[in-house]
Symmetry: D2
Subunit: 317 residues, 4 copies
């Protein structure tokens, strides 16, 4: 009941050919569709719905919208009411407004990011079929990512002006969409400013995350790999394709994720990370990182926060 | 809302010293408690509730009961009603009837296995703490398993007599406890006999499983490891301790799990497996294995079903 | 100076199309050449000489010959003399007698196996080039094995009749070809019968091995993989291609190798194993396995010797 | 015949207690001995000679000497003559001059580094014994490194002044000690200045390496681990012990090694890397890296040369 997982992300790219090469041959997504406006739709081989990434041609990078899938159509009615009751303007769109999807809800998170909820998307099935499947399909390209796993959204944070969109977005996700807060960074003189949060609806450490910064934006969106050896392979693949690696291979203290970050040709940051990390559950105590350990929380091995990692990101609208 | 995960399993052991050595030093569980009846309580380092395994001294091996944790105390009322409405006798026990637990529901699955549901158990926290945690604790012993992950229960199956407790138990889990069927083996002349099932409440491929056999029993209970290198280490640890390895390292077709099976000193079968496998979701199509591919489904590499694997198991009551 | 490594193995196959498919698409060898007699030549992507496997069409499986490469042409003169002095008949063949090779020595090991030594083979270079190479090439197929690493030859052993070709072949390799004995199994009532040996010229645990059996033959020839995750991938690839897996994934006590064994379509046994294991050095003490621990030595995890593993093998002549 | 491998390295440390904690509990070396001058001797669990690291108390960090083990005592006579014939002053020291070693040769490399050769060192055996050994011992601490594998020595390089100690040291190792050049970086306007080299006597990619810099020194000494999962564990161990990680986990283009670098408490750089990489052989073509690809050669993933990595190092005398 309620939100199940991230359904797709819609990002802008500057050079569609370069972008398609990157997502298809380097990350290993499968091409699903394209529309009359030049948008390209892709999915991971382990996903069963038609697409999880929409690339939109543009003159600037960044996120157009992010969409989450809910369990049943009726959930949309319930959630529409809860969103409105929370004081957030919400529109209901007819089927097809999101290509290949049923009716959807459209609203802005308190952080300003545009979010959709939908209950139905055209089913195509995993690349390994549903009867006597192999554990992985033949013909995988590049890093061979399994699925779009989560996104990290940058939220305006200026404690001196009393602005903390991280906390606002987090509260919305918890109270309205029933996300579970799994980890948070608390900073400030009294250690009570929520400057970064990770939240889950599935049993994984995060289905969405928010981090504070000077302006709202898209920090990264992430794809799942099985294990650490796949992260090495992914890093090798990036090097072979001269994809700019931002960080890694390394491990996060937060979520325990082993990972690399890199940029698509338009400058949108991607992540390929591996493993479950831990079983996120409603009764698991929230994990809190204190300001003095942020470095270790983000980059567990060096314990040093790469400045660019928190300041370089693409637009959120 | 509803069932979250396996809470604990209570198994009988013949030699308590040997059993404790096995679960503590070989599997790497942490000793949590012992009671006046000689029961020993243990948990994995990545669990936050006090225990997940209860060892009960006995003159025969097998399972006493299995317990699942529900999200809220109110869920117990709802589920008590649903269980009773389904025609299954259910008792409500007062807090403490299950040591360190709040009130609980007790009933038998259609397969005859004794199950409890509870909403509260004494919280002790993970071995890595909740503030600025390391990804793993120092001082781990043996295989260093993270948590009790699931159990596979053997159910009486005799299609000629019209007995299929696999199907009955599965239907109960789906209809009453809202488990999601993730995978199944269909056999028989018409390919419609559900001879084995895997079901989940979390986003992992299984929180419980049922397989048909000549009598009800306990096939195995399983512990989580991060990845394939941990499975090799676990197998090495078993060899160093001359623990009898039943199967593996290998991969299952079903759940994609990479794994080893082995026996505790009393003959109860344990599993240490690794990885998420895939993200189980309510809308994921059920994966079906046909009778001719059972071998590949169970042991993906050889494709051959080890006879002992399906016929050797301990008691279920 | 002297022998460097295994140069190639020449095996017989029953169905050349099936064999080529197996070695090229499943193991991932690169096709190098074919000759007028229908022999097919292949090599691993990480080898720089033209070929390391010769497939010869035949009506029975097994080994035709095995060849080792020596460091310099002058070594052939020295070794020819030493072989002859040892009492073994040796022929010198002119360049080209072994396709694409310089002059060669031909002789039979005391076990009866036909061996060649040569100093030159046509150089083609690794698939990753010698200038600014990537760590692995694009377009690898199947298991993507690096190189032919070693072979295990079965030698006639009948202690009651005083026949021990293992010991004879071993002594020849040590005394004439300067191989280092790294590991051995000693059996028999007095624990002094050398029933299996592993020997090296490189710094790896074995470049050749001998095991006793009822008749001489070819037990297996093995290909190198980087690490344990590659062994899982290799096993998955065998399963996808319904290649018959004999054993594994598992670890040997002997050499510490993590491995799988399987059969080519003709019944010749292949191995893909991973890792260095340990650094074999002339001054490393010989590792000895006693008869009661043979099981653990061969299959470290189960400690049980699969009967077929030691009795099923193809011809050695 | 000739040099077999690195035998030990003698480094200076500022705080012996901190150093011993680092090498014993964090790297996981075994304490072997200490002498009247306060030197501490350690070895890896997979080594059979008594020690491979000597820690010498001092007020500055850096290397005192490096020692290689030769195969036989007679090799010392041969090599003494060859060294002298090359024009390098060489002393023969009596047994015990190097603690627990037989007679030794002492000389300076053309780069100025002090090197010893010896043929005998007190044998103690691997931690896993020589009869029926386990693949790894119980009770390993920290990263659990197997053995001291190689060292990288910084050599004075000033092409404008015609100073290239890299080339001089390399030529000496090749011509006098019969090392095989496996990889090199060629730079300069004509691409003919040998600014870095890797050389081997064993079948591994390097037993010693030289890199040019403003002054001679010790860049790092490295320990062997099995595979990539061990590198992650090593990095985790460093983080848990707040050891300063310099670089990694990452992969080198050169040698293909997957690795982390970090500093001991005195500032000496250590490496833990994994895997064989490739089989180094006398007939393998030398791998050459061109100046424009140095970044990729050193840090394959990012392709960017961390300035500190080549400029920060400890003394070589």
């Amino acid at each position: 009941m309620g939100v199940m997982r991230i359904g797709h992300i819609n990002v802008r790219v500057l050079d569609m050919d370069a972008a398609v090469h990157h997502y298809e041959n380097v990350l290993g997504l499968l091409r699903a569709d394209q529309d009359e406006d030049g948008n390209i739709y892709l999915r991971g081989w382990d996903e069963w719905d038609k697409y999880s990434v929409i690339l939109t041609p543009s003159d600037r990078a960044g996120m157009v919208h992010i969409a989450y899938k809910v369990e049943s159509d009726a959930d949309l009615d319930t959630l529409r009411q809860r969103i409105a009751d929370y004081g957030v303007e919400v529109d209901e769109l007819e089927p097809g407004a999101l290509r290949d999807c049923g009716r959807s809800l459209r609203f802005h998170l308190p952080s300003g990011h545009l979010m959709y909820l939908y209950a139905e998307k055209t089913f195509v099935g995993k690349a390994v079929a549903s009867t006597n499947p192999d554990p992985w399909p033949d013909g995988l390209k590049g890093a061979g990512v399994h699925w779009l796993d989560h996104a990290l959204l940058m939220c305006e944070l200026d404690p001196e002006k009393g602005v903390n969109k991280v906390a606002e977005a987090t509260r919305f996700m918890e109270e309205v969409l029933d996300f579970k807060l799994t980890e948070q960074v608390l900073a400030g003189p009294d250690g009570d400013v929520q400057v970064a949060t990770w939240l889950a609806r599935s049993s994984t450490p995060h289905d969405i995350a928010f981090v504070g910064g000077p302006r709202m934006g898209l920090h990264h969106f992430a794809f799942f790999l099985d294990e650490w050896s796949d992260v090495l392979k992914s890093a090798d693949v990036m090097a072979k394709n001269t994809v700019k690696i931002d960080v890694g291979p390394t491990r996060h203290g937060i979520t325990r994720g082993a990972t690399i970050y890199f940029f698509d040709p338009s400058g949108n940051r991607n992540e390929t990370f591996c493993g479950l990390g831990y079983l996120a559950q409603p009764d698991m105590p929230v994990i809190t990182w204190t300001e003095d350990q942020i470095g270790r929380g983000i980059f567990y091995h060096t314990g040093e926060l790469n400045e660019a990692f928190t300041t370089v990101y693409t637009d959120g609208v």
